[in-house]
Each structure stands twice: as structure tokens, then as C-alpha cells.
């Protein structure tokens, strides 16, 4: 019995649109992983197989690339919101590690885990490149600057 396809027509179309940009189809690997990840919040193995098929690659090539980058989860989707708390030196000097601890305690997960209600995944990050706003954290597409523990609590309260 054929397995149901994971990649939707929209995803396939989005991935195919990248192909003319590069002299090799393999170069579309990262863009394709991003396309799938944005929709599914993870890239399951079946999607890897289908991306490989689209790009004329062996699934192992796509899986090899995926597994190198820390960005893509594979086993299950990350939360509706994914927050990255910086722990590198400039943030650490201004309370980044304590902020990460505080946030993890507030929602009851360890870095890399998702809350049981699926609302939030907390991640540590290496330098987010916003050291003038230390300690900082990136929530989806918004950078929160010089975050106090109180602001972190408000952020958690505001989650949908």
C-alpha cells in the first residue's frame, strides 16, 4: 500500500520554484527543508524521502544535511511558538543563563523540549547576534531585547 504523501502540492511548488536559482538541484536541499519545516514545524523522515525524490538525490544525502543543522527537528513538531534564548558570552555576562533557567522553570521543560500543551518549545541558542541587547531571546520572528524575568513571564502569559 502506498504511503500517503506528506508534501502538499503547495510545498512541491514552492520547492520547485527554487530549482532555477542554482546550477545543481542539491543546492535546493536547505530551501526545501525550510519550506517543509515552516509548514509542519518539523521534517519527518517521509518528507526527507520525498524531497530527495524531487531533487534527484538519495534520501541519505538529504538526511545527512538535515542532521548536520540544529534547526530542523525530525521526531515530532516543535511548539506553536519556538523561543531561542542566547547563552553565548555577551548574553551570559548579563544574565542569559539565568533567563534560560527562569523560562524553563516557568513552563516546566528543559531546553529543546516542548510544553505538554504544545504551545512553546524552549531552546538555547549560541550567539543570536544581538549582543547590544543582552540578554536577548528570539521568538519566531521577533527579537526580545534586554529581557527581564518579568518580561519573560509576560511573554509566557501571552502565548496562544
Amino acid at each position: 500500500m502506498a504511503r500517503q504523501r506528506i508534501l502538499t502540492d503547495d510545498m512541491v511548488q514552492a520547492i520547485n520554484a527554487y530549482i532555477p536559482r542554482y546550477p545543481s538541484k542539491q543546492a535546493v536541499t536547505l530551501p526545501a527543508l525550510h519550506v517543509v519545516n515552516e509548514k509542519l514545524r518539523h521534517v519527518p523522515l517521509q518528507a526527507v524521502v520525498e524531497i530527495a525524490e524531487l531533487l534527484g538525490l538519495h534520501p541519505a544525502q538529504v538526511q545527512d544535511t538535515l542532521s548536520f543543522y540544529g534547526y530542523f527537528k525530525q521526531d515530532k513538531p516543535h511548539g506553536k511558538c519556538r523561543v531561542w534564548v542566547c547563552r553565548s558570552i555577551s548574553c551570559a555576562l548579563r544574565g542569559g543563563e539565568e533567563l534560560l533557567d527562569h523560562l524553563c522553570h516557568a513552563v516546566g521543560v528543559k531546553p529543546g523540549e516542548t510544553t505538554p500543551d504544545g504551545k512553546l518549545t524552549v531552546e538555547y541558542a549560541e550567539c543570536l547576534g544581538a549582543c547590544e541587547h543582552a540578554p536577548c531571546m528570539l521568538t519566531d520572528n521577533t527579537l526580545l531585547k534586554s529581557v527581564s524575568h518579568q518580561q519573560a513571564d509576560e511573554f509566557v502569559k501571552g502565548l496562544k
Binding site: 542554482y22 545543481s24 542539491q26 536547505l30 553565548s88 558570552i89 555576562l93 549560541e126 550567539c127 547590544e132
Partner: protein, 451 residues
């Protein structure tokens, strides 16, 4: 000395500074028009070479010289990769340029691509910069619509396409051959050089990889001239035959324990003290400084007694640091424990080591494990010798790795042990009074429990 006028940050912070309209109103794209009308690609290369511009991404390699390594009259495609994978801890100047003045970067990119005769440019941006991504994509769309990109730019014979390419959270993609491998859709394992990218780079074709701030400088060289650029900064040190001089303005990123962290533009050659006092508003909370990172964490460490170090390409090296790096200065006040700094540094590099070369993959990990153990109060004096040994043996400089990530991991270890050994020894002795003198190997099972 004439008063220094910031150019790279001139538009930053102004309303709508990211739009084409605001950029053109401030004189934007005039340099590109002049270049396309009056200069040949080889003129552009030669003038860039004559300006003494050195790469701003960390290595400080002369930009014009890098361009001349491309094969002459190459019949096939030449690729240009713009390195916006800024991930060096402490560094954020590229982010500010891309968020607040993306057209400045684009104009410099187009001039640089014209010089190298690349017809395709890949703009490789780390994925943690959503605002920079949005503003840059909007700027690219505007530039296409205005005829600054695409076929026959401004009616000339030159055509260029620029594509944004999104990274996925890996520090090593900032290494130019790691970036190329990543662009090709593979794990970002740096390549053995030679061949250098100028000969065989992206998709096995001649390729130039330049940093965001570097191409922004190119734009200003063609706005204001080579003489203007050379009038700023520091000439070569006569005592160092390998110093090519440090010309031009530089974006200094200042963070850590100062009153006003931020990105500041100044001539190359500013000292750490000047940066902290004149721009950073001094050390915070009325405290004293203890140490500073001179140019991103991989460059090593300056003690407070060394803050007269000039931040030019030649300066930090004279104080035992690896170099100027990205000129990102991270200041630590007197309350910082060096063991915490060193653990943070080692953890970063063990996390970001790509795993290709064993000395780096294993060395950075063992250093992190040892420091975790020291922090837990189970350190031994002998650990400092082991750490120093790791510091001396991993990297391009000792010849054991393919890329410089391991040198960047080694330098903080080496500098910290050299400059702060008494503090580290005191920490170990006071936290492990019963065992600091032990020299037998630590049982592996005990180490496994640490993480």
C-alpha cells in the same frame, strides 16, 4: 586630524532607512552609476586593491587581492557569495547594516560583483535574523524593480541576479568553504585549501566570498575615492613586514559590562579604552574592568592592563591575541570569574565544531568537560596543563585541522591560562581542597556524569 564622519552607519536609525526611497534621497546608488558608466571591471578591482581594504569578516585578507586570484578571462560562470552568516559571539554589525541599510549592502554587492564579473550572487544569511531577512528581501525586490539588478543594469551590458539563501543555525557556515558546502546543500564541512574558492569554489566554479561590511566599504570607496579611504586608519607597521595596513572606517561592536553597548563606527586603530570610554560610557555599575575580548570570542583575551591595545589588524596580535577578528569587543568587569568565561567559550566551540577533524571535535569537547568538572569543584592543577596542551595542538596553526575554528577555540584557552593562571589555580585549590594536587587520570565514568 580632521573630524571623523561616519559613513557606514550614516543612515542607520533614520526613519524608513531600509527603503529605496530613503536610500536614494541620501545619495544612494550614485557610486554604482559612476562605476557602470566610467570604470571597467579591472579598474574597480585595481582601485579596491589600491584602497588597502581588508576583509571585515575576521581574517582581514586584502579584498582587491582576493578578487585578482580569479582566473583571467574565465569562460564559464563566476559566483559571488555574500557572507551574512554572522555568528561570532559578540558580533552584530552585519545585522544592523542589513536591518537598517540593506541597500547600502546591495550597492556594494553589485559593484563587487561587477568587479569580479559574477552574474549570480548568493546572499547567505543565517536563519536567526528575521528582520534583516525581510528588509533585505524587500530591498532586493526594490532594486530589481528600479533596474539596479537583473538584465542590463542601468542600461549597461552587465547583468546580475541576487538570491537570498537561508542558513540553518551553524557557526561553521561563516567559514568561506563551509559556506560554499552549505550552499551546495551539504553539511558545512570546510574544504582543504588549496584549491582556494577563487579557483574552485561554489559548484566547482571560481567563487568570491566576501563579508557584508566589506562590500559596504566597497560602496564608499567608489563614492568618496581611494584617497579618502586611505586617509582613515593606520598605515602598515614598519616592524611587521606582513602587515598590509589597516585603512578605512570600522564598525566596532561593543557589548558586555559597559554602560552603553552598541555598534559604533570609528577609524581602524581605536584603542579598547577609547572605545569603552568615548562610546560605551565606561564600565557599568561603577565597577572596574577585568578583561575584554578584542574581536569576537575566538580572538582570545586582553587583560585590563592591556586596554591600550589598538584595534587595528596588527594590534591585538601584539598582545598575544589571535587578531582583530570582527572587532567585536566584549567587556568583563571585576566580578567575572575567568573559569566561567572559559567554560562559556569552550562550550560554544564544542557545540559549533563541525566534527570533521578529530583534534577539533574531541579537543573542544574534552576542554568543555574538564572546565565543567573544574566549575563543579573537582578541578586539579594538572587540568590547566592538559587544557594548555589542547590549546597548543588544535588548529590550522599547529597544522592539525582543516579550518580555523579550532584556532578560535584554542586562543581563549591559551590567553586565559597565560594571563589569568594564578586566578584559575586559586579557584581550583579553594574549591577542591582535598584533590587539587591529584595527577592520576580521571575515571571515564565520572566524566560521563558531568553533562
Amino acid at each position: 586630524m580632521p573630524e571623523f564622519e561616519p559613513v557606514l552607519l550614516a543612515n542607520v536609525g533614520k526613519p524608513d532607512s531600509q527603503t529605496l526611497r530613503a536610500y536614494e534621497a541620501a545619495g544612494g546608488y550614485q557610486a554604482l552609476k559612476k562605476v557602470l558608466k566610467t570604470l571597467t571591471p579591472s579598474d574597480v578591482k585595481e582601485q579596491t586593491k589600491a584602497s588597502g581594504l581588508r576583509g571585515r569578516g575576521g581574517a582581514g585578507f586584502p579584498t582587491g587581492l582576493k578578487w585578482t586570484f580569479l582566473p583571467k578571462d574565465h569562460p564559464g560562470p563566476i559566483y559571488f557569495c555574500l557572507n551574512a552568516d554572522e555568528s561570532e559571539p559578540g558580533t552584530f554589525n552585519n545585522r544592523i547594516l542589513m536591518e537598517d541599510d540593506p541597500h547600502q549592502v546591495l550597492e556594494g554587492l553589485i559593484i563587487s560583483c561587477y568587479a569580479t564579473q559574477a552574474s549570480t550572487a548568493y546572499y547567505y544569511m543565517r536563519c536567526e535574523y528575521p528582520t534583516a531577512w525581510l528588509h533585505t528581501q524587500q530591498a532586493i525586490d526594490e532594486a530589481y524593480a528600479a533596474g539596479y539588478l537583473g538584465k542590463n543594469i542601468l542600461g549597461s551590458a552587465y547583468s546580475l541576479d541576487v538570491y537570498l539563501h537561508r542558513g540553518a543555525g551553524a557557526y561553521i557556515c561563516g567559514e568561506e568553504t563551509g559556506l560554499i558546502e552549505s550552499l551546495e546543500g551539504k553539511r558545512a564541512w570546510p574544504r582543504i585549501k588549496p584549491p582556494f574558492p577563487a579557483v574552485e569554489g561554489a559548484f566547482r566554479k571560481p567563487t568570491v566570498v566576501n563579508n557584508i561590511e566589506t562590500v559596504a566599504c566597497v560602496k564608499h570607496i567608489f563614492d568618496r575615492g581611494v584617497e579618502w579611504f586611505k586617509s582613515i586608519g593606520v598605515p602598515p607597521d614598519p616592524k611587521n613586514p606582513r602587515d598590509a595596513g589597516s585603512y578605512g572606517p570600522k564598525l566596532y561592536c561593543l557589548s558586555g559590562h559597559v554602560n552603553k553597548p552598541g555598534c559604533y563606527e570609528a577609524p581602524l586603530g581605536l584603542t579598547v579604552t577609547e572605545l569603552i570610554d568615548r562610546f560605551g560610557g565606561g564600565i557599568w555599575q561603577g565597577r572596574k574592568a577585568k578583561a575584554a575580548i578584542p574581536g569576537g570570542i575566538s580572538m582570545g583575551l586582553l587583560s585590563a592592563e592591556e586596554f591600550h591595545c589598538p584595534l587595528d589588524f596588527n594590534g591585538p596580535g601584539r598582545f598575544g591575541c589571535l587578531g582583530l577578528g570582527t572587532a567585536a569587543v566584549v567587556v568583563m568587569d571585576e566580578t567575572v570569574r575567568m573559569v566561567d568565561y572559559l567554560f562559556n567559550s569552550c562550550r560554544f566551540f564544542s557545540h559549533e565544531s563541525c566534527g570533521q577533524c578529530t583534534p577539533c571535535r574531541e579537543g573542544t569537547n574534552w576542554a568543555t568537560k574538564m572546565l565543567a568538572r573544574i566549575k563543579q569543584g573537582k578541578g586539579r592543577l594538572r587540568d590547566l596543563d592538559l587544557l594548555a596542551e589542547i590549546g597548543e595542538t588544535i588548529g590550522i596553526i599547529p597544522g592539525t585541522t582543516i579550518c580555523g575554528l579550532a584556532d578560535g577555540a584554542a586562543w581563549p584557552i591559551k590567553n586565559c591560562i597565560k594571563k589569568f593562571r594564578p586566578e584559575l589555580e586559586t579557584f581550583i585549590k579553594s574549591t577542591n581542597p582535598g584533590g587539587w594536587m591529584e595527577t592520576k587520570p580521571v575515571p571515564a565514568m565520572e566524566l560521563l556524569n558531568i553533562h
